[in-house]
Amino acid sequence: MKTFELVPFGEKTLILRFDDVQEQPETIHWLNGFAAFLRSKFSKTFEDVLLSHLEINLVSKKNTDFKKVEKQVRLALTEYNNIDVDTACVWEIPACFDAECAPDLDELFGGDQNKIDTYIQAFTAQELYVHFFGFLPGFAYLGGLPKELQMPRKAHPRLAVPKGAVAVGGSYAAVYPQQSPGGWQLIGQTPFVFFDRNRMIPFFLKPGDRIRFKPISFLEYQQLDRDYQKASFLPQKIENK
């Protein structure tokens, strides 16, 4: 994955695209690791380095010096390939997928409880990964959904999706970090808040991290929600990769 192109975007930004990238976990982890590497190595040049769908965006502090950035990317590529900077974590996120927390499941499966159960079982068995963040602070686009778990977005977006809603929109899953308008299908809810400015660690997920949803009952959800209100604790980290 060494051949790349840099596409100018306005006066301050370059889009870094690699040839032949596919949307698969290894590639996304590599891209996120490389973005983090560029971010820390060239913090004087770039004010932000971030992924969007299969691309790395390099935002310069001043107007972009195309030649300089190209050189920096080449240098970083040789160095990055030689060291392991993949510090991605795997998180277990308890979430309730019962009807009380999943207003769209009924309609999606025509009220067929067996189909709903099968879907949730497959959804919670799948390890997802943070492809990139966007839309709202802490809104992670979670990749890794197989075709059969993907869902079209709603034709008419909701005006208020609740905080913590677990949602599927196209090929991505996400957790709404705050109440907001939204057009994704709501299939569950977690008491864990993905962005909380009052918490010691406002964001616990980072780009490249992995997630597994753990199904809990509505009673457990309510209990956890009450506990969380008291102490804003973090979900469990299963492992450091």
Binding site: P8, G10, E11, D48, L50, S52, N57, G134, G138, F195
Partner: protein
Amino acid sequence: MSVQVIHTGFYTTIQDSGRTGYRHWGVPVSGPMDCESFALANALLDNFEKAAVLECTISGPTLLFNAPTRVAVAGGLIEIRLNGVEVEMCKAIDCDLGTILEFGKITKGVRSYIAFEGGLATPKTLGSRSQYFPVTEYKKLQKGMVLPLRPHTTALPKIMQVPSTNWIGTTETLNVLKGPDWGRISEQHQTQLLSENFSIGSNDRMGYQLKGALSKNNYGLPSSFVLPGTVQLTPEGTLLVAMADGQVTGGYPRVFMLSGNEVSKLAQLRTGKTIRFEGCD
């Protein structure tokens, strides 16, 4: 050392140069809508170029000073009264303890910037003082808020030549660079974008909607990076210009990027005003 908010004005926010370094967590950069006037207000007081100011929209606040300081106002034309007596924009204004500084409506342009000697000393969240909910507790100034100030020095700021502000509210063309998705849209759309007029629809700190005669479309793109000044073509055929509080990703073709300080010019235009795009490669 502080200043108290007696009235907030229509929509007033605290803004420094913005919250960079957190976009990879989905946090918009925020900062001033009109960077030119923000820089001028700070320069008039010899402030650090990134110092926090108040950004007023449509109308300004009423402030009570609990300590002596100096302020300067730049941007959209706004009436200022110091203890009832009219004072000028683009000049250092000395405020004593107990001074009431009252701002009226903005009569030319949309946004005015009130800089304070040394910059407002409100707390930072994620490295910036810029208000953006839910990164900060409030999205805008609240009545009764007390904003900490820096110590007052007696040294007068050096007198600077004030650049012309005739451009404020009068812009008719915006200079643009082609966006990264320019090649994905039809030739007809390309031609229309560079020849037709667009009128300013709903707008706020997140974005400006521009309406023209572009047809509906179905270009459908994956989520891509968007920054202040990016112009996207929506499926309904309207244009969406991302501004200071705009989302970091968008799903529509990025047809233009406003160049240089064109974002500042747009930020001073009102709903209903007509603009055209002028392209360069």
